[in-house]
Symmetry: C2
Subunit: 581 residues, 2 copies
C-alpha cells in the first residue's frame, strides 16, 4: 500500500516524517500566496499547507471539493498561533512534496464536509454514496460492523455454529405478508423470502447442532415506518437442552461483552426482569422505557361505585404523577391519549389547598389517599386513565412516553436501560370476535404448570415461556423456549383453531420433524438494525442501513423496484395484472 | 445448563465423577441383564452401561434409536477387555443413576448412527434434519462456521467494515438471469435479488468506506449443477487506493490465516501466479489443477506444412504425456475430448523401437524431437490435440482432468494447491458473430499500458487487471481492479457496444457516482460454498449447505416453491401465465 498513514493518525510526534496520504478534498481555503487543503479520509481530516513557492501550488489551485488526491509530504508541527484543538490533527500540517489528483469530482449535490446537512432525506438517499462520506454515517456503519464482529467472536468461542438458512423458501408462520419469487423451473409456483429462520433454526436443533446463530436477512412486506424496512437483519440464535434462564443468561453475557468492547459501557448483572403484567400495569407498555420513572398507581378501588361515573364503573383507574403542566401541554397529552384509544385524559393539579382544575371536583373524598399513594407534590399534575384494564394502561403508557419527550425525562438517567419482559400470555383473544391467536408464534412453549388450561375458558391465563429484550423503550429482541413435544404442539394448534389437517397443510414437514427426536430448545432473535439504531443514538432505522429503502419501499439511488421486460416475466410464468385491468 | 459435559469429552481421568449428559440414543445393544446405550451429541458418542440391578434398567428397555435422553451418572473406567479405541471415549462408560427420556422419536427414514448412508440424495434432502445429525454433515457445518468466524476476526482487525448491501434491488450487470420479486407498493414493478453486490461495493468505495467485506447471499436463476445453487454465498471484499498486488497480498494473508487456524495447513508465501495465457497454453484451463503436472508441450512447428494433414494446418498442436493407456482408456479419453469440442484424440505409444499405434505412422520424422521435448519414456502414451489454439488446448485440458481422475494423479501431491491466474483478456469476441463482450464484467480495469488499444482491431489484446483464485482446479475467487475514471468506463462501454444512452439506462446512477470523486479501488469475491466444499473434501456443493435445493431448484423438505393463493398474487399485481394458456 502506498498510503503510510490514515489522515487522522498524524500528531506532533510525526513532525519531520515523510508521509503518503490519500483521500478526498474536504475543503480548500484560498489565502494570498497559500492554500490550506483540508484532506479527508475515513478516519478524519488534516490540513495540507501549500505555499506559493511549493511546486504543488499549481495543482492545489485546481483542487475542488471531493476531488480524490494523493499527498506525499512532510509533517510539520504547527506554530502556537496556528494550532487548533477542533480536530485531532489540529497540531500539525503536511507540507507536500507531491500532490496528485487521482480523480476529479462534479460539484456534489450537498456538502459532506462536516457542515450540517440541510437537504431532504430523499436527496440524501438518491446520492447515498455522498451521504455515506459524512462522518456520522461512517461512524454508524463502523459501529455496526464492530458489533457484528464482537458477536461473532463471542458466539464462536461459546460453541455456536453459524449456519446460513435458505433465502428462497416457503411461507413461514410469522403471519406478515410474504415477498414472493416466481420460479422459472417450476412455473406457476413461488418461493417466499424468509420472514425469519424460525422453522429452520428449530430444525437445526432437531438436527442436533446444539447451538446456532446467524445474522439473518429477513423480509416482511408490511407498511413501513421509521423503525421498519422491507428487508432487515436479525441476530438469530437457538440453543438445545436449555431452560429459559440459560437463554437469558447467555444473552446477557453476550450483550455485556458487546457493550463493554464496543461502547465502553457496563450493563448490569443480571438484567432487570419485569413481567408482562407489571410492565403493562405500571408503565402501560410491553416494552417500557425504564430510563425514567413515572410508574402508574392503581386507584381503581378509590372510585369504585362512587359519584364520578367515568371512574366508578371502570375496570381500572390508573394515575400518573406529572410535572406542572400548562393547559397547552395537557391538551397535547390528551390528544396522545385519544390517539391511543382513550376517550379523554382526566387531570388535576395539586396545590397547597388540594386539587384544582380538571376533574378535581370529583377527587375530594379520595384526595388524602390519592396524595398518599402517588406521593404527588404541590405544583404537580395527576393524569388519570380509566376503562378496561388494557386500553386504560396502554393509553396512559402512550401519555407517559409523550411526557418523556416533552420534558426530556430520559436524559437524566442511564444512557442505556436494558431489561427483560417475561411471562407473556401464551394466547391472545380478539375482543370483538372472541377468536384466539398466538401472542408470539405458534411454536412458543407454554409454562408447564399451565398445560391443563388449554381448551378451557381460562386458556387466556396460560403463561408463555417467552421473553422480550427491551432497550430504552424499544423491543430489540424476542424469543422463547419452544414446544418440543408433539402433543403440546397439537394442543397449541387446537387452541388457535388449527385442526390437524390445517396444521399439516401448513407445517407438515415440521410436524414430522418434531416427532423425530426433538430436544428441548429455545432461542431469541435480536432486531439488529434497531439495536444499532439505539446504540448509535440514531433516530431512524434508515440511518443505520447503508442503502435503505424509503417509506414507499423504493431505493431512490438504484431506482428499484422497476419495470421489467415482458419476456423476462414470461420466463418465470407470470404477467402483470394491475387492478385497473 | 444442566449438562456438565459434552459426551465426547469423557476420558479415564473423569472416573468417579458425577456427570449429566444430554443427547440422542445412537444405538441400544441389548445383552442378557444389561443394556449398552450409545449416547450421541454433537461432539461424538459414549457408552451408558445399564445393568439389570440399576434402577434405570426399565427406562433403558424403552429406549429406541433417536430418542432424546438425559443421563445423570458416574463415569467409570472400562476394564482392559472392554476398552476400545474405535472412538475417543472408548476407555470409559457411564453408569446412570437417572435416565430420563426427554422426547421419543419415530423410526428414522434412514440410519444416522454412523453406518453408511445408502438412501438416495432425495431422501436425505427430504429428511434433512436427520441427515444433519450425521457426523460428516455436522463437521462440514462447523468447519464452515469456523472459517466465517476466522475471516471475520481477521478482516475486522485489518480495518475492514462489514456492510450489508440490499437484497431487494435492481438488476445487476453479471448477465445471468435475475430472480424477480413483485412489489406490492409499486404494483407492476419488480425488485431483483442481487446476483452480487458488485455495484454496491464499488459505491461503498466511492463513499469512502476504504475497506469493505460481507458474506453476501447472491442469487442467479441459472440451470443448476453440482457446484451451483440458486442462492449461494460470496465472501465479498473491496479496498480503496490499492493496486493489484495489494489485493492479492491481503487475500493471501487472509487465506494463510484461515488455513492455518482452521485446518492446520500451511499455504505458500507468496501464492504461485500463472497468466491466463500460460494456464490455457500449458494446462488447457483458466482454472488449472496444479496438484499434478502433465503440462502440455507445444509441437505446432514440428508438423507445420507436413504430411499429416490434421496437424499440418492446425493453429496449434499440443501434446501431453500420459501413462501407459489401454485401448479402453484411450477411447474414454477420446470421448472426453470430443465432448469438449475436439474432433478426436490423436495418440501414440512410445516403445523401445519408437512410436506405435494411433497416429504413430505420421510421427516418424518428428520422433526424436518429440521425445526430446516431451521427455516421454518407454511405455508412456502421447496424447495430441490440434486445431485453433483455444479449442485445442481446452479439449486437451479436459483430457488432462479426466486422466487425473483415472489415475488419481492429484493424490500424490499437496492436499491443497492454490494459485492466482492473472492477465486475463479484457474483452472476449464471439467467434461466430464477431461481437465483443466483457470477460469478467464491464467494471474491470484494463491494464493502463493497453488503453490505446480500445476501439482498434487489436482490442482483444487488452489485458484486464483481473485475477482468479484457483484451488485444486476450481475457481474459488475472482476479482479485479475496477475502473475509477469515467472516461475509461466510457471506452469500455463503447467497446462492448453500449452507447451512452444504453449505459445510462442500465447504470445511470452508477455513472453519476463514478463522477463524484471515485478513488482507485479493487476487490474480489470468493465462492464461499465452493471453498468450503474443497476444504472439507466434499464432492458436491449441496453437502456444505444446511438446507440446499435439488437440481430442479426444489427444497424437498419444506416443499418450496409452492403454489400460492390468487389473492396473494393480486396484492402484488401479478398473475400466473403458463405457456399452455
Amino acid at each position: 500500500m502506498k498510503r503510510t498513514h490514515y489522515v487522522s493518525e498524524l500528531r506532533p510526534e510525526h513532525a519531520g516524517q515523510q508521509v503518503v496520504l490519500q483521500g478526498w478534498v474536504n475543503r480548500v481555503r484560498d489565502f494570498p500566496e497559500q492554500y490550506f487543503v483540508i484532506l479527508r479520509d475515513r478516519t478524519g481530516i488534516a490540513q495540507i499547507t501549500v505555499d506559493s513557492d511549493n511546486p504543488a501550488y499549481a495543482v492545489a489551485g485546481e483542487l475542488r471539493g471531493e476531488y480524490v488526491v494523493e499527498v506525499t509530504g512532510t509533517v510539520r508541527e504547527r506554530g502556537e498561533a496556528q494550532r487548533t484543538d477542533q480536530y485531532p490533527t489540529g497540531g500539525v500540517e503536511v507540507i507536500p512534496t507531491e500532490l496528485r489528483i487521482l480523480n476529479r469530482a462534479t460539484t456534489p449535490a450537498f456538502q459532506v464536509d462536516g457542515s450540517p446537512v440541510t437537504v431532504s432525506e430523499d436527496i440524501r438517499l438518491k446520492f447515498r454514496y455522498l451521504d455515506l462520506r459524512r462522518k456520522d454515517m461512517q461512524d454508524v456503519l463502523r459501529l455496526r460492523s464492530r458489533v457484528q464482529a464482537e458477536i461473532t467472536r463471542y458466539l464462536d468461542l461459546q460453541g455456536f455454529v453459524n449456519v446460513e438458512t435458505p433465502m428462497l423458501t416457503r411461507s413461514t408462520p410469522e403471519g406478515a405478508r410474504d415477498f414472493l419469487v416466481p420460479s422459472r423451473l417450476s412455473q406457476g409456483e413461488f418461493y417466499a423470502l424468509p420472514q425469519s429462520p424460525q422453522l429452520f433454526k428449530q430444525l437445526l436443533m432437531i438436527a442436533g447442532l446444539d447451538r446456532y446463530y446467524q445474522f439473518a436477512r429477513c423480509f416482511r412486506d408490511e407498511d413501513l415506518r421509521a423503525d421498519r424496512q422491507p428487508d432487515f437483519t436479525q441476530l438469530d440464535m437457538e440453543m438445545s437442552f436449555v431452560e429459559l434462564d440459560d437463554v437469558l443468561n447467555l444473552n446477557e453475557s453476550l450483550l455485556r461483552h458487546v457493550f463493554r468492547e464496543v461502547m465502553g459501557e457496563e450493563l448490569p448483572t443480571p438484567f432487570p426482569r419485569i413481567s408482562y403484567h407489571e410492565a403493562m400495569d405500571r408503565y402501560g407498555s410491553d416494552k417500557p422505557d425504564l430510563r425514567f420513572g413515572h410508574a402508574f398507581t392503581d386507584v381503581t378501588d378509590l372510585f369504585r361505585g362512587g359519584a364520578f361515573q367515568a371512574f366508578a364503573d371502570a375496570g381500572a383507574v390508573k394515575v400518573m404523577v406529572a410535572p406542572d403542566l400548562t393547559r397547552k401541554q395537557i391538551d397535547e397529552l390528551e390528544r396522545v391519549a385519544k390517539q391511543n384509544g382513550a376517550k379523554g385524559l382526566a387531570w388535576a393539579k395539586r396545590g397547597p389547598d388540594g386539587f384544582t382544575g380538571g376533574v378535581s371536583k370529583f377527587l375530594t373524598d379520595a384526595a388524602a389517599e390519592l396524595t398518599a399513594r402517588t406521593g404527588v407534590q404541590d405544583g404537580q399534575t395527576l393524569l388519570f386513565s380509566a376503562g378496561d384494564w388494557r386500553p386504560a394502561v396502554e393509553a396512559l403508557g402512550a401519555v407517559r412516553n409523550a411526557l418523556r419527550d416533552l420534558f426530556d425525562l430520559a436524559s437524566g438517567g442511564p444512557r442505556f436501560h436494558i431489561s427483560w419482559v417475561t411471562d407473556f400470555p401464551q394466547l391472545d383473544q380478539d375482543p370483538d370476535t372472541g377468536t384466539w391467536t398466538y401472542m408470539h408464534h405458534p411454536f412458543t412453549a407454554p409454562h408447564p404448570d399451565d398445560l391443563a388450561l388449554f381448551g378451557t375458558p381460562r386458556q387466556g391465563e396460560i403463561r408463555a415461556q417467552a421473553y422480550d429484550l427491551v432497550l430504552n423503550g424499544f423491543e430489540v429482541g424476542g424469543g422463547s423456549i419452544r414446544i418440543h413435544q408433539p402433543d403440546v404442539q397439537a394442543k397449541m394448534f387446537a387452541a388457535i383453531g388449527f385442526d390437524e389437517a390445517a396444521a399439516r397443510a401448513k407445517f407438515g414437514f415440521f410436524m414430522d420433524a418434531l416427532e423425530s427426536g426433538t430436544p428441548p430448545h429455545g432461542g431469541i432473535a435480536w432486531g439488529f438494525d434497531r439495536l444499532i439504531m439505539l446504540m448509535s443514538g440514531a433516530s431512524n432505522i434508515r440511518e443505520v442501513i447503508a442503502f435503505p429503502k424509503n417509506n414507499r419501499g423504493v431505493d431512490l439511488m438504484a431506482l428499484a423496484p422497476s419495470t421489467v421486460d415482458d419476456a423476462q416475466l414470461a420466463e418465470v410464468g407470470v404477467q402483470v395484472r394491475l387492478p385497473a385491468e
